[in-house]
Amino acid sequence: MNESVLMLTLMAGIGLGTPLVFGTVGEILTERSGILNLGVQGMMIFGAVMGFWATFVTGNLWLGVLASLVAGAAMSLIHAFNSVTLRVSQIVSGLALTIFGTGVAVYIGKAGSDPLIGQPSKAVFEPILPEALSDIPIIGPLIFGHDAIIYLSWAMVAAASYYLFRTRPGLTLRAVGEDPASAEAAGINVSRVRYVHVMVGGALAGLGGAYFSLALVPSWQDNPIGQAGWISIALVILASWRPWRALWVAYIFGIAGRLNFTFQTLEINVPATLLNMLPFLLAIIAMIVLTSGKRARFLGAPAALGIPYFREER
């Protein structure tokens, strides 16, 4: 039963969804502070290459994870500086970050006498719990059959949700994203809150990227992440800026990304190109349905999202 096509699809969907969970929850935290970061794709690729590199050099997966977190955060710092301190257009800055991150990652992959490109990873994330647990029908693999990063992502989602809705800093974050002037009047340092959450978002995106190069496709290619960064940004809206919902929608998209393979196994003849398009089509349809008309207001978009805040504006 655990080897059925359905189970394999679900397991693969969870795996493919995991980078999206990190990317989406990271972007949720960023956007909750009122900053729109369209550089997720760039931060993810950069995290992927730096994580891969660190593990390649040291052989240690956790140093790879650390490197990807730092890489993502460092890249997002550029965006934080642009949008919080310089108050430039967040859209332009985010897009630039994506282009920059992609270019840098490709360059790093090809640099040096012994380039990373084409190399397999020195270590790969594997399921961590005893195999006996995974033999339990259905829930065995679904709950016990994962690698450490997937468990980390669940803990991260729970923590992010608790943080947002049950702690004082979380309240502060929500207030800054809704109404920075009011937050400032309440004695909150708007710039600091924004910097911190843009960087946390960047770090999580970087880790999401590394999950591709250290687990899903454990080798270096020019772009191991596909378009996961862009999908993460769309998922923020589908998740209506809530971490738990981000987990579910990320898994749905992970499964959609796996359907190509599933259909082949089942010998259902649908053109592969059409199925590869499915996650994007799903994103577009879901966005149209969710954001049309009156529903948009109840979606929970932070009211100050994308608007630069300048204290002495009159």
């Binding site: 049950r166 702690t167 004082r168 800093p169 979380g170 309240l171 502060t172 929500r174 207030a175 809704e178 109404d179 002037a181 009011s182 937050a183 400032e184 009047a185 309440a186 004695g187 909150i188 340092n189 009156k294 207001r297 009211a303 204290r311 002495e312 009159r314």
Partner: protein, 513 residues
């Protein structure tokens, strides 16, 4: 109040030679100010006199360019509102600083270091409720801010500061958004806070309020202090002279010419607001040629939706709008303009004018499709210049330079430009929302003259305003709306502030006050 013991103690707050300018425009110059413990100190001045800037300096929002601030005799350097709050200074801004999607309790907890890391909604709510009861300010702590009336939101603002235990409260034009009755309740609360030993700064440009609630008055004009007096010794006339710099001219109003045929007829109009609730709820209204009908009401009772529903900017979900006998309920905005609706919106920049275009372009904004501005698909630049220059001169719009974005003009000149454009197109109805809001005395007088001139030309004028003085000065007939419905109607000659105030707060005429 003037307790001998206090003379030796230093003032709670003292400002010495404060300067503050914005982009080269001086907002405060050489300001000295002192606030004693337990007093209500009024800051009086025209719009643009620098009251709000001065308050923002005390509250730590703006940093002065030069000068120093002392608290209890010690020099302090407030770098942010956070510093000010920590020092015990809090401000209720004209535009409330409440996060509208959060609850009352969450707003109270926001930024408060005494709230623990973990948020317990129930504890927060209990505390908020207790605080509200202690100061006789009952509010529902679980309500989200957008669900509250403006008066209730103001209470939350004050509670928020009391929750932080501030000693110095700054209230920036707190009565501007309140009904007269809500204003009286606020004044009682202010007195009891002062009696507790707190100091209050009360900003206003209304003399009778200052006279009623304050102990001392500092008058500002053009960013400078022009006088400081004990309220008891001050004659309203003297205060007015200090404030304006010359003797105040009361608006004189010629009785209106003969009222003509009905022009704008609104029947059972229903308009939903952004939340999908019926903000205008079955409202019927007639405005005749040569008549000014004033719509009075506390803001947020359907004024915006009424205006935008008639003009066509918001969708009408029921009822009808007729213009000179023709139904225009669901015709496009452009057709309504052509049929003769002129509109002066409340939001001058943004809705009324295109901020980034220059004055000449803005003046042509509603007529540029037609000759002489355009010739088929081509624009006639020369006509923009000549017609523009004509209007700029005719309406005395100052500060215009070629190519200068109109947003850089002052509020009064913006409004003159907007009115110039609206009244020079062919029209039979003028809808104006708070046309003198935020304007100084001079510009206010010009705008009022323009509106009365419109009336005398036989235009049907619908004036929607939250400012009773403005309504009383201009209207022939007053209609009061409350929650999207008309709750009272009277000739302007029979209107009193008290009667209007009761109606505006939802008391119908039949009920005893």
């Amino acid at each position: 109040m003037a307790d001998p013991a206090q003379i030796s103690t230093p003032p709670a707050v003292e400002l010495r030679k404060i300067d503050k300018s914005f982009y080269g425009v001086l907002a405060n110059a050489d300001v000295d100010f002192s606030l004693s413990r337990g007093e209500v100190h009024a800051l009086l001045g025209e719009n643009g006199a620098g009251k709000s800037t001065l308050c923002s300096v005390i509250a730590g929002l703006y940093r002065p360019d030069s000068g120093e601030m002392l608290m209890d005799g010690e020099v302090v350097d407030l770098k942010s509102p956070k510093d000010a709050l920590a020092a015990g200074i809090g401000m209720v801004y004209q535009h409330f600083r409440l996060v509208s999607n959060l609850t009352v309790a969450e707003n109270l907890a926001l930024g408060n270091p005494e709230v623990g890391l973990r948020l317990s909604q129930s504890e927060l709510e209990a505390e908020a409720r207790e605080l509200g009861e202690r100061y006789d300010f009952p509010v529902d702590p679980t309500a989200r801010i957008w669900q509250l009336s403006v008066g209730q939101q103001q209470r939350v603002e004050i509670l928020k500061l009391l929750y932080r235990n501030v000693r110095i409260l700054i209230l920036d034009e707190p009565t501007a958004v309140l009904t007269p009755q809500e204003g009286q309740a606020l004044f009682r609360a202010m007195r009891s806070l002062a009696d507790e030993g707190r100091s209050l700064i009360f900003v206003s440009h209304k003399l009778h309020e200052v006279k009623q609630v304050s102990d001392r008055v500092t008058v500002l004009r053009e960013g400078r202090v022009v006088g400081e007096v004990a309220t008891a010794d001050a004659e309203p006339r003297d205060l007015a002279r200090m404030m304006v710099g010359k003797d105040l001219e009361l608006p004189t109003r010629e009785p209106n010419a003969a009222i003509g045929e009905p022009v704008l007829v609104v029947k059972d109009l229903v308009v939903a607001d952004d939340r999908g609730l019926d903000a205008v709820d079955g409202l019927s209204l007639t405005v005749s040629a040569g008549e000014v009908v004033g719509i009075a009401g506390v803001s947020g009772n359907g004024q915006r939706e009424l205006a935008q529903g008639i003009v066509g900017l918001m969708k009408v979900s029921g009822g009808s709008v007729e213009l000179s006998g023709k139904d225009v309920t669901s015709t496009s905005v452009l057709r309504k303009i052509k049929r003769g609706i002129a509109y002066v919106p409340q939001n001058r920049l943004g809705m009324g004018l295109a901020p980034g275009l220059d004055t000449e372009d803005n003046l042509a904004l509603k007529q540029f499709r037609e000759p002489p501005y355009s010739n088929g698909p081509m624009l006639n630049q020369k006509a923009f210049k000549t017609k523009g220059a004509e209007l700029i001169k005719g309406f005395d719009i100052r500060g215009v330079r070629p190519g200068l974005p109109i947003r850089l003009l002052s509020g009064g000149n913006l409004q003159k430009a907007l009115i110039a454009r609206e009244v020079t197109q062919d029209h039979c109805v003028l809808i104006a929302r708070s046309p003198t809001r935020g304007l100084d005395v001079g510009a206010t007088a010009v705008v009022r003259e323009q509106i009365l001139a419109e009336r005398d030309r036989g235009i049907a004028v619908l004036l929607i305003s939250e400012d009773l003085d403005e309504l009383l000065a201009l209207s022939d007939r007053l209609v009061v709306i409350y929650e999207g419905k008309i709750v009272g109607e009277m000739p302007a000659s029979e209107a009193t502030a008290e009667r209007l105030g009761l109606l505006m707060s939802g008391h119908s005429e039949e009920q005893p006050a």
